[in-house]
Point group: D3
Chain length 259, copies 6
């Protein structure tokens, strides 16, 4: 059974998350389907991709499937993790990707949305960065996705409080390109997509790649990076990491000791 | 016949684009005049430069003169191109440069405005980034000018849709420092200029230079840059590039094939 | 006599500037007290630090104590200067630091606020960057603090005009995370602090450190930096620098010659 | 007719240039064959690749085929040029590549040898960097290959004089890993290859990739790179460039004017 | 029982490895002793540190104690590993450290020697980089230590062949500063140490720190580093890694499959 | 009276230091003459510059004139210092510069020689890096000049011991391109110069600039650089700095306390 549906028309491709039962959690299976779809769209020279959930959902995506997190003492955001792979694919594919957002966006799904090129939201949209609630050490590229869109102080508020960011604040701070009424969301998004299809796909794909490379152009010295990796490892090896995941799975509040 | 007029008073220099007939297109001839003017202002120790069009214009500047683009298979945004030279001069001169904007700003003129230090707009102001409409591969420093002012998602919307950005959105996203009524535009701008003249010109010019250098401090490895250059070259060599320029000159919609 | 008061409750530490008589100027003595307090909070595993002034103050902090600036021909923002040390401590400590702002914030105190992780303001809050008024050459890390929070054009307006930035504009541009009514300021701030204490302190401190390192990741080549240092030295050695400090101490307007 | 011969035994692959008639010039056709061969070796999990010419040749490779240089006003060392592609393939493939050198190595073939992992030479080996003799603007990655192996002063001597560097000096300066007698060249090289096949191929390929990335880790700011590109373009567009190529093809000394 | 002996005279400190029975393997216990000793020398303002083994040893140090490598699926060269800590301490301490080498130097001990400031060897000295023999993925800072001393081709020969590098070749390639007769080794080393003690310790320690920082100044973008970390992780998780360690402990040749 | 003599023939310019009485110390007056000469050679399109002393001198140059060092508490190697200016001019001028060395080279003159493109020496040549003998904090670009030519361990030996490096070791380590007999020095140097004049000056000057930029491409983050500057300032402000200069001028051994 498929966890997404796909649609192509007028050089515009659409991926719709259809696993509302599981709140469109980014499970390995669902990511696998997205990877294949995007790959095919590129082959078929689609010019824009719209990433969306079904109409009327409360949750656009609940983020990574916590039941699939690796065992303790292993980096949960490793380069080869499916979530990391899909984030890179969205950034590296030649088509612009528009995130069309109805409902709340959680954890890794926030990172996915920030990896899209353009974000259209509506009043029910909200963002919630959960790693500090679960105790997960975030990775450097993931944090960089935030810093390329918003000021460091807002990124830190999102990560440190793990509270939802409303559509209105998101639009004010430029995280959402356009905030429109829910009933106009589709019309607005596809009208923008259509305009993009009329422009030069070569120019667009090269500019997209240039923006990606400039966004990565915050290089760190090797000892700095190895130090960060060492700090992150301590978090993965901590009791709090297990407490956070267990609390999440047991649907209770975690009790963190800082150890 | 001059394409600009210049004025100096109270240590405030002003360049006014006066070629409304050609919508103040940034032709080689006009850029040449601006270069000389800025050079003289520096010699005469002017403390602020206001860059503006004539009162009541619909178009502040239509951007680069497309009839002067180089022949196919040549980089249209090369380091020695007059537009690139004027962008650097505006950034490197010791005076703060205030862009005072009435009317719409197109293509290379957007880049010029973003290269200014402070931007004052009014309700008729709008910005439209046109390279994807013409099929021009943008250069890395040009894209960086956008990323130092706005989030990557907004920059990509401007480049990918090539649709006008309204004064209101520009102000919301911080592209325009102040959005004031059209009739207050001059008063507001020159009042700010006057305040700047009272402050330490040495402090200001060094901070301006530091901001410029930090804005450039997104270094790329040599193979990354040569790869970008290779991608841009494919665009210059493409059929779409010729189609884009021809369509523009023939005032018809281009038909891009991605080849 | 102490220049600050400190308070700890529920893993939330608070530093209150209590030297309103001197407008909470960041004197060496006051910085020394803050350094000790933050150090102790870290030892005692506080989870959040709130940095604030007393209720109802007009001036949150007047910034660096100008009477303590070094003699001419010496860099006033040197690495070992107490102000620089406290900025680094706030950035490097493992607790999130929330700046809770009532009243105006001047010069080096703006830099302190931007070095905090989250900023909560109220209608009386304003920011004023004064170095160009006094003739002080700002340092590279200081300018970088601004560029990591706001667009380059807004940073330049603040530095070049040395005019106050209102709470409203600061909130629009994302410098203030939340703008709330003065009477709600405390309640709002401590509610946010409480939420943070419930999350994983290990995750938070590592993300804070990653954001810090990514914010610094705008590297410059050695000749570029030595050139900046040479430019800054010329400012320290200039007549204008002495004029600026003297004018400030004599409470008169400076007359800068650019020499 | 093939321009190379290939051989595989004991997990050691060998490519032998067999076009002595054309002094093993790196023509597009020959590069194409090498590309395919290396690709196949990787598929077949070969553990080492030896790159060599036939026994007793005077010229190991004369470098790029000058008759195939692009027309004037086009970058002759563009990212998509076959020579550039083969240099990257040699650096990026997972097997160590040993250059086994008998005879002289010219121009682009020097760059190919420096892109190999290990270099074994004999008394007839010599290196000659010819671009200044022909008037070709070298690319940044090419120059970086030299700087990662030798001091800047030696690289500049090679480029500026375009004189042969003897096997002895090359060995002294570490360009050649081992200088052995011609009759021992094969035995020595394959003995080293055999030792490598006994070690962990995973460890080796990851270290090779790390060395490659660290060798590239000399990042340049975007304006610096665009400036270099502008300087190189002036060379391609110059009269001297045409003079250099014509003189080479007419087998006469060029007469450069610096224009 | 101590694994090292220490000695101080004339502001010259000496650490002598005294665990010849275990071939001075860099066990956690021995590293712990070195860490304390260096720390004390710094407190006591020693001006030079000589790092040596006992007279007449065959093996200066066999490198890291393989029996202490972490279990599979864990990074064996993690930031907090004792070997990594001692490498950083040697680089970061304010005294110059002279490695005085008699006998062979293996694996992690090569990295320790390259982390010293000056290396004095004698004819019995040799270097052998063993990670490819055991199947260990080397870390980025470790590889960088090699690239800051020798050409990339020599570093790759050492890593890929895991064969000893003789004192003579090491001296030729500049890895050893001075190659002297074994009986002159002590006299020569301490004479150099004495000369250093006469010079300005402030100047020396700042230059040492500058060289360290410049040696690290090969920054990598975040995705590049996370990709390397992903590649290294595959090696740690591979069957070959277990095979390599087991073979070493069982004193037999490993049989690597590349899996 | 002139401190240098200049000569031009066959597109080869020569500067000869003629102030043997003062051991060709790099006084401000002498540097001024060199600056003018190089500027004129560039205007006159000279193709190579030979930098030399008079035949038979014992001292090629004694380095910076210590009597002209700035007063304490001021950076002696500031960006605008004449020595720094001449180093940059030699690196940035379009002609290759060959240092032809007879006699010993001291302190800042070593830096000048390393800033040249090619170095030819003879048996009387030697190098001595004296800052640690005088107590001067070296600057970052100066140290980088060494690291681009030699391994970090050799650079540290030169700086830490302040002992002469013989011509033979210099040649072994590649600091000297060619070591020839004293009587052949002129013939050899001018023969190389002549060969360079026959090659493309455009190609050569662009490659020279690329090597310069790649040599600088070791970028440091702003806090790293400000920390180095702070460390260097402590040295300038120390008692040892005054002791070092006084001892030098009084021709006695300094007694450094590390304070
Ligand atoms: Ni940045
Ligand atoms: Ni940036
Ligand atoms: Ni390097």
């Amino acid at each position: 059974m498929s966890l997404i549906s796909i649609h192509c028309a007028d050089e515009i491709a659409t991926i719709t998350f259809t696993n509302s039962a599981r709140r469109n959690a980014l499970s390995n299976a669902m990511i696998e389907e997205v990877l294949h779809a995007v790959h095919d769209f590129e082959q078929n020279k689609m010019r824009v991709l719209v990433l969306r959930a079904e109409r009327g959902v409360k949750v656009w995506s609940a983020g990574r499937d916590v039941t699939e997190l690796p065992q303790p003492c292993r980096d949960p955001l490793e380069y080869g993790d499916p979530l990391e792979i899909i984030l890179r694919q969205v950034q590296e594919c030649s088509m612009p990707v528009i995130a069309m957002l109805e409902g709340s966006v959680w954890g890794g799904a926030c990172d996915l949305v920030l990896s899209c090129d353009i974000v259209i939201g509506c009043p029910t949209t909200s963002f919630c960065m959960t790693p500090a609630k679960i105790g997960v050490p975030y990775n450097v590229t993931g944090i960089l996705h935030f810093l390329n869109i918003m000021g460091a102080n807002l990124a830190k508020e999102m990560f440190f409080t793990a509270e939802p960011l409303s559509a209105e604040r998101a639009a004010n701070f430029g995280i959402i390109n356009h905030l429109v009424q829910t009933e106009e969301l589709e019309g607005f998004t596809y009208e923008m997509a259509r305009r993009i299809t009329r422009n030069s796909p070569l120019t667009i794909s090269v500019i997209k790649e240039q923006v990606r490379l400039l966004s990565c152009a915050h290089p760190l010295s090797p000892p700095t990076f190895e130090r960060i990796q060492g700090l992150r490892r301590k978090v993965c090896d901590s009791k709090d990491y297990m407490e956070g995941i267990n609390a999440f799975l047991e649907k209770r509040d975690p009790s963190f000791k800082g150890e």
